[in-house]
Subunit: 189 residues, 4 copies
DNA sequence: TATGAATGAGCATTCATTCAT
DNA sequence: AATGAATGAATGCTCATTCAT
């Protein structure tokens, strides 16, 4: 494992537990066992570590949402997308934190934020398709996409909360609630 | 306006624009025009400013959700609760930030988090009532509450995003999506 | 008990446990329960508290050494002086600290140090008398006085050291060692 | 000379003239010409500078007392020990200050105090030998050792006091007084 | 590639003191 | 006599970063 990889991994762990702002370079250096100068040999500055980490983590974000999602069945596709996103966040806590902090955090440059934004297009396209198919009511697709995304996030937050044990049943309920919100009145559920 | 109030107000403004971690005491001092020592005369330390601010802002959070919500009409009550929460967050950006950061931020002590948690009880009670009235499907109420809350948050985030202009129509769409997700199959919408 | 007295007493206690330099005004204020301004109403500044305390404690220092010391019996007088000093320090830990710190501490102005010096004259006079009476060898009286004083201090330090329990026997041994050091060769012990 | 050595040396000089508590880091930085961060690169905190300094200075303390002291002649050994200690303190003012402050100062951790304590064992052993040889009266050896030590300290204090000029004659007198105090009645002086 | 010494701006906090009430 | 708000210099310490090896 290269020194560079060690630094990235260590930073990942620290940010996951403490947040971006609370994570200092000296902490990274101390925890990683890598020398001061070595960090600066591989990264121009602290922000570059964050950025590189961010790119690493969001790289597969675009593909992850649509993975194994059957394009011919809207409901099934919805469920798979929902679960893809949910487990991606559950298994990549940092990606989740980043995704949550992106909007606000001044540490992430706007260009990166915009880049991340594009991954959402797949979700938006999905809703456009659903509306066209007259399965969904013709709501604003940005609103739909954000609510969809927010629903997943809500469940991840429950899952993250150590005091509550989330069962599969609850996840299915959440997906159902999420799905039914978008339906047309006469859609056979 | 007392020096203490000035410090609180200034801190509020700085945190709203920069986040908690990025706001330094020297910034507060410079912007407020209050002397270094004066801040420490009124507050034990920096955290106490944050905490006091948080208490100030969440004090009315409990009452805000249920304000003017008609108890006899579930749908109307839902709409009013939804909008109450939405505009509360829109008008109290810091309260919003806090509410978003509570789960994660180590800067907010656990006691405060627990205190905040109780405000959610009203929402949960509402869903219990709806299930009893056979209007809502009998989902887990914690899940329902979190999804409801998350939906509001999603819209606030769209609203916050400067590049997108949120119209009343979109808000109504969001409320509708949110509401319909919880309904029983045979409920007249 | 007047506020002024409370401040002095509190300062005394703090200095005894922490030393002069480590004792801050805010500590005094917090511990005494007296208001900030009240301290400055009674004392010009922090040094004046120390000085006043010092004067209070050294006031009776001069009389204490010779108290109940029979002037006609050199040996008895020696013992009484020795014990007077010993128990004075044991019972007035601050006076002891002061007396130990005087030489070095820049916090005590030189004028005060000189003033304290005069109290030692009684001891020096005693040794002059003893030399004249041919009981003591004619050593330099300053040396004698300092060694005498130092011997008492040594025992106080043992006494102060919590891990060692000083018995009366040991004190008597110390006095004897102290006394015999000064004697002429042919003096009947 | 390394920056670390410069910091230690500068701190030594400052403490010698002003005392530990009165010596601030900014003074050390200003006087040493070393940057703020450099100090903290070499030392974990201010206390570590003091501790390291203390260890440096007391390292040879153990050997110093017994240096060149003939083991076969009790009186000569006494004189050499006495002078060794005296000149060690005179030439190492900081060691003297430390040794004086050890008992009281909360700035010196207990572990260091205990470590210093062991150096005194040689002195105590000497007195045990003297008692066994029936040259000294069988006083408590801790008392003897403390009085011996205190006598040296008394003379160092006279020496330190700028207003008094200590001559060799006075030192010899002090040694004689010190020595005679311990003797048995019938010992040929 | 890797190291760690060196830097100085900036941090939260404590300090002794002043002043209006 | 007593209070406590207000002050700003100073403290110990952390920070991200530079540089010579």
């Amino acid at each position: 494992m290269s020194k560079k990889a060690i630094v990235l991994q260590t930073t990942l762990e620290l940010i996951t537990t403490q947040g971006i702002a609370a994570t200092s370079l000296s902490q990274i250096i101390k925890k990683s066992g890598v020398a001061n100068g070595t960090v600066y040999h591989h990264f121009k500055n602290k922000d570059e570590i964050i950025t590189e980490l961010y790119l690493m983590l969001t790289q597969d974000f675009g593909t992850v949402v649509m993975r194994n999602a059957p394009e011919d069945d809207l409901k099934k596709q919805f469920t798979v997308m929902w679960l893809n996103l949910f487990y991606y966040f559950v298994n990549n806590p940092l990606a989740f934190i980043f995704s949550e902090q992106i909007a606000r955090s001044p540490e992430i440059p706007q260009t990166l934020k915009d880049e991340a934004r594009q991954y959402y297009n797949d979700i938006q396209d999905y809703f456009k398709k659903g509306i066209k198919a007259k399965v969904f009511k013709s709501y604003n697709t940005l609103v739909m996409e954000e609510l969809f995304f927010g629903n997943v996030v809500s469940l991840v937050k429950i899952h993250e909360n150590e005091t509550v044990k989330l069962k599969e049943k609850h996840i299915n309920q959440a997906i159902e609630i999420s799905w039914r919100g978008f339906l047309k009145d006469d859609t056979i559920l």
